[in-house]
Amino acid sequence: MGPDIVWYLAVATFLFCTGALGVLIRRSPLIVLLSLEIMLNGANLALIAFSRHYAQGDGQIFALTVMAVAASEVVVGLGLIVAIARKKLDLDVDKLSTLRG
């Protein structure tokens, strides 16, 4: 009943690749973080889909953990961005390249 797991996986893949594209193209760290969230969500969708397919709850557990970790990571990332903004530096990942060479 309803679409096969394959369709869900296709959507998950598309989300993941879109998120990856966003990470690679955008220069503002905020947008990069948002794209990162999209990637994580794509992964979550895949997990839930498989969990349903194999009729085991472990995939859901994994997805919940991923959510918790994503939240933590966003906290730290946003904290960094705010700190950078406070230092009056340009919010541009290309310019934040002190580790060059």
Partner: protein, 648 residues
Amino acid sequence: MIPAAWTCLLSPLAAALLITLAGTRISRRGAAYLATASVFVSFVAAVVSFAGLLGDSPKQRYHASTLWSWLTAGQLDFGLRIVVDPLSIFMMLVVSGVGMLIVAYSIGYMEGDDEERRYFAYMALFVFSMLLLVQAGNLLILLVGWGLVGLSSYLLIGFWHERPAAIAAAKKAFVMNAIGDATMALALFMLIQRTGSLNFEDVFAQTDQLGGSWAVNLIALGLLGGAVAKSAQLPLHTWLPDAMEGPTPVSALIHAATMVTAGVYLIVRTAPLFEQAPRVLELAAGLGAITLVMAGLIALVQTDIKRVIAYSTMSQIGYMFMAVGLGAFANGEFHLLTHAFFKALLFMAAGLVIHALAGEQDIRKMGGLRRLMPFTFVAFVVGTLSLTGIPPFSGFFSKDSILAAALDHGWYGQLLWIAGMAGTFLTGLYASRLFFIVFWGEPSPFVREHLMASSHAHAREGHASHNGHETHEHAGEGPFSMTATVGLLTVLAAIGGFLQFAEVWTPVSDWLAQVAPPLVEATGVQEAISSVLAVLLGLAGLGIGWSIYGARTSEAPRVAWLQTLLERKFYFDELYDAAFYRPSVWVAHALGRWIERPLVFGSVRELSEGLRELGLGTGRLQTGLVRTYALAIAASLAVVTVVFVAVR
């Protein structure tokens, strides 16, 4: 008898070790006395062994003793083995006896030197090495002793190591001896392969199987190579004159009486092997003959007192080689004995002269020492007459028997006989030249300065005993240790020859007959002719020397090209330099330029530069941009996925 033999061998080693370990805790005199005492103990032990051996009947005079099994490999077993038989006892007595006198002489000669202890340790080491060589019960231990005497020689020639000439001479001696060591080692390898053992009895029992084949000739040739190097015969002779850089007692002991005679001993000891290779024996005799004439000629133009005596040694060993090459083994050994006496005597007397003249060795500065050093004068007279072979001194008895034996060997022997006769004439000539230049006439200015300068510088009669330090300017011929030993040797050189006389009285030949039966026998007539002719030639040489250098009634002929040829020692040094030294240096430089620098250095440098480039290049990947890194991750992920899927 066996314990005595071991004592004889190990006593000097113990002294050497003690002196070395004691370092500065032992006084310099103490080291000197310890070394001398150890060699004296050695001599006593040798006499005891001799007495023991006398008690055995001639057929039974062969005792071997193995301390432990030194080297075992599969079926080969070499032990630390000594042998007590007539030949080894003979050599032991010579080495320890003459050695004892010379080490005692060194007490006076080396007094005041800063490194006296080292000197006496080395001397004790040398005596031990030489005894090991002559007492060895198998060829391996003999080779060990061989190498050790080479080492001791190197250490003692270069004793005064601040002098570059001494260091160079020591190296030259060692390298040339090493060539001989190498040929000997090769011969031993072949021997092991053929006979499976190096013990004398085993090897000699199998010699008739080997007889005449190319193998035994090669073995004999290898052994001859070692003998030639050690005894300073042509072509490996150039090291001996340079070896005079060492102290005079060293020259006396090592380069006259004992080490250089080791080659002769080797041939006598391995006589059964050499008998199977008669061509090699003839080669040995030939080399001896050529050396004896060549060295005699060179000695005519030498101006250093020690070098004259050194070339004389080379010449006399040529006689010994001639003897053993012809198969007259006992005669060769007898000449070894008498030569040890008079050559050591000559060196030590020369040492007295050098000591009195504060280290001067150039004979052109000397003259007229006859009245100033009468004791030395007498010693030199005895030595010179002995050397020339004038009866009743010792050289006469031993040398003539060699020359007579040459006549028994066919046309080749007769050729050698002529060479030997020429050598006798030359011996008379150079010996008298040396003697008259140094001792005759009026004292030269140099001598006047050194021996007649101070007020109480009157020549005193020989055996006055001088204790303690004696400076050179004060007259008197030297400390007691030096004069006493020279006196003893004078006596021995004078009467030592009476040990054997032609066919009439032959204890030496009988003694050694068991070990090395002679291959030639001269008839009575041949002996008589030889002897008379030799004495006449010797006297002729002495006479001519007297007229040129003593009475100054005639002038020495001056042939320019001959003079240069002799002074340059027949250009052997230059020949070896061009043939061996220059090419080796050229090869070394070429290798350095073409192989070592580009390949070895180059590869290392290329490697390091390559790594540096790699590091720099990799550094450029660090752009510092997050997006680049992320792109790299994404791209690699894409690739990895493909690979992963494809592999599945």
